[in-house]
């Protein structure tokens, strides 16, 4: 019988085995990465009580449509990024396997302390992955800020444990709904947990680590942190925001103001930047804030689609810029001028990904943006819509400027060679972005009901 626990156990076991043979480790990494995706097709949606202890006494894993979408996305992107980099970063195979186990655990676990453990394991793997940037102080900063973030999350969680006597997510939600505790008493633990997870999710003002890490990223660390980790953390964070936190009153106001500030400042910083990776990292910060903003407003399905669209686009953008930065030794936009003159296919993929992030018609980003703005309008969030549109204009200016620079050749010819696997990945992602941008019916078939935690709580506690 296939069980979701295999998605965590197999990479973890493979990580231990990979230490025994350095030659086998990269093969094991690719095999496990591919096996996880195949395995996911055969695992039924269910709650798995580990050790047979019924909820809320044991740790449980929870696989529903939401977790399944998240797992397909994270495992698929993880496999692509490792496939492109495994030859160059063989030494990191064991660490990447641990990272895969931790990311799958983050998306599956139904226990809030277990989530802290997976957060720390994923964090430790991320610190080691980013150590390949060869900027030890930036990695050290990331470690310190990440550890403070998870400590704050744990602090908030322990306050909740002191109040409700449970660590299980569903049991905690049920206790909060039925115990009749005033929302005021929950503000401190919720805010501590929000800050803790906000650090990992790159939310302003808790994202001081992002610049040092992504500015010096390479073809492994850039897409891994900005695409794979960002998608996993955003989707896990979204689950907690939609089901556990349910912000209201003054806390809602504070959170929305922080997120809107993140959107505007992220775009402004990207606009002011002259370096390729800096532009992308500030754009990522802004997009992360928009995603969380949608989860806070209860627009779950379009937030999930936004995470997927961004993860795919950022994969292409970071791969192109990091490969060019590696070959040319600089990511200054002026130094990258004319990059696409001899790489037309790569240029088309980069342009499609950038325009999709921007939200232009024909690309999936447009469908997502149109729908979440409509949903925000239904919720009468007109100020938020206005500010997002202003941010989009700024985003449009700097992306178009960047594209013009990269397409038009300068007197100095630059030569960056993208090999076939890179081009294949770019082609597939570009096709997906255009396909779902022009044919959006499959996207409309799903709704907020993909997240079934509240339904499960109803079944477990009310029969």
């Amino acid at each position: 019988m296939m069980s979701a626990i295999l998605l965590i156990a197999i990479p973890l076991l493979a990580a231990f085995l990979s230490i025994l043979s350095k030659k086998v480790a990269p093969v094991l990494l690719l095999l496990v990465g591919a096996a996880n995706i195949v395995l996911l097709m055969f695992i039924p949606s269910e709650i798995i009580n580990i050790g047979g202890f019924a909820l809320p006494f044991g740790i449980n894993l929870f696989l529903d449509s939401y977790a399944r979408i998240a797992l397909y996305l994270v495992n698929g992107l993880f496999f692509i990024v490792t496939l492109l980099n495994v030859a160059e970063y063989k030494k990191l195979s064991s660490i990447l396997l641990v990272a895969l186990a931790a990311l799958n655990g983050l998306l599956l676990t139904g226990d809030l302390f277990n989530l802290f453990v997976f957060l720390e394991i994923a964090g430790i793997a991320a610190y080691l992955i980013t150590s390949t940037n060869r900027k030890p102080l930036s990695t050290f900063n990331y470690l310190v800020i990440g550890t403070v973030g998870s400590s704050l999350y744990l602090f908030g969680l322990m306050i909740l444990y002191g109040m409700f006597g449970t660590l299980n997510l569903m049991d905690m939600i049920h206790e909060i709904q039925t115990a009749g505790v005033a929302y005021g008493a929950l503000i401190l633990p919720f805010f501590l947990m929000f800050i803790g997870l906000g650090i990992e999710a790159k939310l302003l003002p808790f994202n001081a680590w992002v610049k040092g890490i992504l500015k010096h990223s390479n073809t492994l660390s850039g897409p891994m942190i900005a695409s794979v980790y960002a998608a996993a953390i955003s989707l896990m964070f979204g689950r907690l925001i939609s089901n556990l936190f349910q912000f209201e009153g003054k806390l809602l106001t504070v959170v929305v103001v922080l997120l809107i500030a993140g959107v505007i400042l992220g775009e402004a910083m990207a606009f002011a930047s002259k370096k390729g990776r800096e532009i992308l990292l500030f754009s990522s910060i802004s997009q992360a804030c928009i995603t969380v903003l949608l989860f806070v407003n209860g627009i779950i399905i379009w937030a999930v689609y936004l995470v997927i669209a961004n993860a795919l686009s950022k994969l292409v953008l970071y791969l192109v810029v990091n490969k060019a930065a590696k070959d040319l030794g600089s990511d200054d936009v002026d130094d990258l001028q004319g990059l696409f003159a001899k790489n037309i296919l790569v240029g088309i993929a980069f342009t499609v990904a950038a325009l999709s992030v921007l939200g232009l018609p024909l690309f999936v980003g447009f469908v997502v943006k149109l729908n979440y703005l409509t949903q925000l309008a239904v919720a009468s969030q007109f100020v938020v819509i206005g500010l997002i549109l202003v941010a989009s204009i700024v985003e449009g200016i700097y992306f178009v400027k960047l594209l013009v620079k990269l397409w038009y050749p300068s007197e100095k010819t630059i030569n960056v060679k993208f090999n076939l696997p890179y081009k294949a990945v770019f082609a597939v992602v570009t096709l997906l972005i255009v396909l779902f941008g022009t044919y959006s019916d499959p996207l409309d078939s799903l709704d907020n009901g993909i997240d079934t935690i509240q339904d499960q709580i109803g079944v477990i506690y009310n029969g």
Binding site: E120, P136, L137, S138, T139, F140, T147, F155, M158, G212
Partner: protein, 111 residues
């Protein structure tokens, strides 16, 4: 009362993190913060007049008042993770020193 002491320790750790510019001192501050948090977790399970949650020949009734064992189990995990993070942090400190010949952040031109 012990919870106030734990929160004070966490605040001292946070203050150290914000004011120190030496990477070793930052690691020490991080550990003070974690120790404060661990004491806080333990304090959550404290029950006045409670005994250790172990059934023995003399303490063999469920009517006895035991302290909550769960936070003790949780804090063990938190300590192990803290040690791992500290070890990794120190490895990065060694890298910083090897590359820049200093432990002072202000003397490193990286960020």
């Amino acid at each position: 009362m012990i919870q106030y002491a734990a929160i004070l320790l966490m605040m001292i750790g946070l203050y150290g993190l914000l004011t120190n510019r030496n990477v070793i001192k930052i690691i020490v501050s991080l550990n003070i913060l974690e120790i404060g948090l661990n004491i806080f977790i333990i304090s959550i399970g404290f029950v006045y007049d409670g005994i250790a949650p172990i059934l023995t020949s003399t303490n063999n009734s469920s009517a006895l008042i035991f302290v909550d064992p769960l936070p003790q189990a949780l804090v063990l995990t938190a300590i192990v993770i803290g040690v791992g993070t500290t070890a990794l942090g120190l490895a990065f400190v060694k890298n910083i020193y090897s590359k820049y010949n200093t432990l002072e952040i202000d003397e490193v031109e990286e960020v």
